[in-house]
């Protein structure tokens, strides 16, 4: 692929007119200096007295500190959940639904605070917290509120009962949204919950805890314990849990599977991905380019279903690459609180180190790297949007999940070749295909082994649509009617 724009001089997107800073107001939002666990309806200090810091990844400033969940803390939370479960399950579905509706409406009322905190604590652009994370979290609660009194219709002819106590461990890429994905179906079906937010992004969960308290949810129905991996492991290994729901990395998912072997505990795992995004030569190219951007640079690429492997039909590869570079030049990278920012901060130093390691590996393996010329702050964690060409399925950056704004681009000649390469991965979470031809959409999507495949769009989510993976991307589905199955026993 040639990388130069042969005839027209390169377009200049920087000159003449620059947007002034347009920061979202954060004065309205108060973050407490310290947060305790939320157990049995009360904010409960750490039994060991240990607390850990949480920071703003864009500035590395400390935002607050959180109780570190010990074995005892987890035990208290699980016991509270177990105690509350019988009464919660006995409530008529309609009543449980009312609580969920109430939670949804309260999040809407506090939407601005949630989006500001999500951005301060996680580094994602305020535009995304405001327009994606928070509205989708609300939609999930509304959606499952609707199922709460219709479970008999969801599973006709079956007797439906809840699993019991669900241990839910959520990731740092969509903290509030993943909490909603986990909590809403569990509660609708009559389960009670112990939830552990990710250690780098606990704050929206604590705001959610305050909201759940304000919603008068019965004590013990939702318990939130903070901490690192060992806290999560303690939850998984606790004898009184009946179900584990985990979203995170594939290695941890495997560890959970091993831990639960031989126990009567069901689980859903939503793990890593390395999605193929396939651009056919008959695609609407300008819209496909925007789709590529949404697929890989949405949320700094911290998306398990990110379209991180791009396959472009060779006949249009030059045009796609040229336009991708134009688009990269117009992406605004910087202060996540600025309403114009497209790409914010990397979530943590650990994650930045991992991304940098893989980028270096890509260069060492002979990949050709392209990055727009962007000035970045020396405080905080940053990674410019990155394209790699001249790579193949043999490269680490093509095989391993990077979970950052790094796109590996390959070409193909025939649809069959694209399908073969798309499936040439241990993952199977998502995929995308771009073509103007309907028959080609059906042909390609039916042959790609992935849980979600988008046609002429990417990273589009809806609570009514099931989401989950094949192979090492996990098992079980969240969202839609399918998302009820993991939380019910059917007889």
């Amino acid at each position: 692929m040639s990388t130069q724009n042969e005839i027209g001089a390169a377009l200049d997107f920087k000159g003449l007119w620059q947007y002034d800073a347009a920061p979202e107001d954060k004065k309205q939002v108060k973050i407490a200096p310290q947060y305790n666990h939320f157990i049995n309806g009360k904010f409960t200090p750490s039994t060991t007295g240990e607390y850990f810091d949480t920071i703003n990844p864009a500035t590395e400033e400390k935002l607050s500190e959180l109780a570190l969940g010990s074995v005892e803390d987890v035990d208290k939370a699980v016991k509270a959940a177990k105690k509350a479960q019988k009464d919660w399950a006995k409530l008529p579905g309609k009543e449980r639904g009312k609580y969920l509706y109430r939670i949804a409406r309260l999040i809407q009322e506090r939407a601005r605070a949630f989006s500001v905190i999500e951005t301060l604590n996680g580094g994602k652009p305020i535009r995304e917290s405001r327009d994606v994370d928070v509205p989708l979290a609300v939609a999930h609660f509304f959606y499952y509120a609707g199922w709460a009194d219709k479970l008999d219709y969801a599973f006709p002819g079956r007797s439906v009962s809840p699993k019991g106590v669900a241990a839910q461990i959520i990731p740092w890429n969509f903290p509030l949204l993943m909490a909603a994905w986990k909590l809403a179906p569990a509660l609708a079906c009559g389960n009670t919950v112990v939830l552990k937010p990710a250690e780098t992004t606990p704050l929206t969960a604590m705001f959610l805890a305050e909201l759940i308290r304000d919603a008068d949810l019965p004590d013990g129905v939702v318990n939130i314990v903070n901490g690192y991996g060992p806290t999560g492991a303690t939850m998984v290994n606790h004898p009184d849990i009946n179900k584990v729901a985990f979203t995170g990395s594939t290695p941890i998912g495997k560890y959970i599977q091993q831990s639960l072997a031989g126990r009567d505990v069901s689980y859903t795992l939503e793990l890593g991905g390395k999605a193929a995004n396939i651009i056919m030569e008959d695609a609407p190219i300008d819209q496909a380019v925007e789709g590529i951007i949404n697929a890989i640079f949405f949320n700094q690429g911290h998306v398990c279903c990110a379209g991180s492997r791009l396959f472009v039909q060779e006949s249009v590869a030059d045009e796609v690459l040229r336009k991708l570079k134009y688009r990269l030049d117009t992406l605004i990278v910087g202060d996540p609180m600025d309403k114009n920012t497209d790409i914010g901060a990397i979530n943590s130093r650990k994650q930045l180190d991992k991304i940098n390691e893989l980028v270096q590996a890509g260069i060492a393996e002979g990949g050709h790297i392209y990055r727009p010329n962007i000035e970045m702050s020396n405080k905080g964690f940053w990674c410019a949007p990155t394209l790699f060409t001249e790579v193949s399925q043999a490269h680490r950056i093509v095989n391993e999940e990077i979970f950052g704004p790094v796109l590996a681009i390959q070409t193909f000649r025939t649809p069959a070749e694209a399908i073969k390469k798309a499936n040439n991965t241990p993952f199977g979470l998502s995929g995308g295909v771009w073509t103007d031809k309907g028959s080609k959409i059906f042909n390609v999507t039916s042959q790609i082994h992935a849980g979600v495949i988008w046609a002429n769009t990417f990273n589009r989510f809806d609570p009514t649509s099931p989401f989950g993976g094949y192979k090492e991307s996990g098992m079980g589905r969240e969202g839609g009617l399918h998302g009820l199955y993991p939380y019910v026993n059917l007889d």
Binding site: L11, F13, D20, D131, A283, P284, D436, N456
Partner: protein
């Protein structure tokens, strides 16, 4: 130059275009960058009157407004051009004199375009002879829908020839084209046939200019530039009534074609009421207060 096959022009996905436009709409323009954009938008206006009741008096007033949009703000620019029917070109020229403001005129049986080709050529020549700086033509939408792309192409080429060295703006009348695929096809035909500007609408058909339509046209301009290095101008017309919308167009322009197009030489708004809204916003940015519309001349 190799002409593309207009029967298979690039595909456009409407949903994707609308998503992209919505994303431009989330840009937040504040402080000095806002003032700069408002002034730029004002300088890009083709201040327009195209009515059956247009008269010498009306044209005279329009031209004075164009030269002096507001009193007491010397750093506020004038508009780019006035746009009038052919019989008023001379009048407009005589009022505008050396102001630097151009006179554009609509030709080719505006707005329907239903007239013999020779008539259209003669009308274009009349505009040129009367002193017009720019000619805005309409394409034959009926022929376009019949699939006579070569006819539409040849007609534009003939009008361009009649224009000589002065700029030709080609009105696609996108409100009658039906789909964004057709907008893209008509854009390519107009550009390859020699149009210097492509323009959305006559202002006589609803909808006039929209952001999605304009984005598709800007992308056609970009593809042509990438292929040839030749810049083509863009003029959304009809429907851009307020500053907020105008800013969205400028954001889209900047992020699609870049800084080189952020100039009245390459981008125009065809509008009659936009200028006062822009003035009102500029004054508000300076004074902190909104003034009554009574403080802005209604010409």
């Amino acid at each position: 130059m190799n002409k593309p096959d207009f029967k298979s022009s690039p595909r456009v996905d409407q949903v994707g275009v609308e998503d992209k436009v919505a994303r431009f709409g989330t840009r937040s323009i504040k402080k000095e960058s806002k003032v700069q954009a408002l002034k730029l938008a004002l300088s890009m206006i083709d201040h327009t009157t195209l009515e059956g009741m247009d008269s010498n008096g009306r044209i005279e007033q329009l031209c004075h407004k164009a030269m002096q949009p507001i009193v007491g703000y010397p750093d506020i620019p004038t508009v780019a051009a006035v746009c009038v029917y052919p019989p008023f070109i001379k009048k407009a020229k005589s009022v505008l004199k050396n102001s630097g403001i151009k006179v554009a005129s609509v030709a080719t049986a505006f707005p329907s375009g239903h007239a013999p080709l020779q008539y259209k050529i003669d009308e274009t020549k009349l505009c040129v002879d009367s002193g017009a700086d720019e000619v805005d033509m309409v394409i034959s939408r009926g022929r376009f829908h019949q699939g006579d792309y070569n006819y539409v192409f040849d007609e534009i080429a003939a009008i361009k020839e009649a224009c000589g060295s002065i700029y030709l703006k080609v009105i696609l009348e996108t409100g009658e084209l039906g789909t964004l695929d057709q907008v893209r096809r008509a854009s390519d035909i107009a550009i390859y046939a020699g149009g210097n500007f492509i323009k959305t609408s006559t202002g006589k058909v609803q909808p006039g200019a929209t952001l999605p339509v304009t984005l598709v046209m800007l992308e056609a301009i970009r593809d042509y530039y990438d292929k040839t290095g030749i810049m083509i101008g863009m003029k959304p017309a009809g429907g851009v009534k307020d500053s907020k919308t105008a800013l969205k167009y400028l954001i889209m322009l900047k992020e699609t074609l870049g800084a080189a197009w952020l100039s009245p030489d390459w981008f125009r708004f065809g509008a009659s009421s936009l200028s006062n809204d822009l003035l009102m916003q500029i004054v508000k940015q300076k004074s902190g207060n909104y003034q009554s519309l009574d403080y802005f001349s209604q010409d």
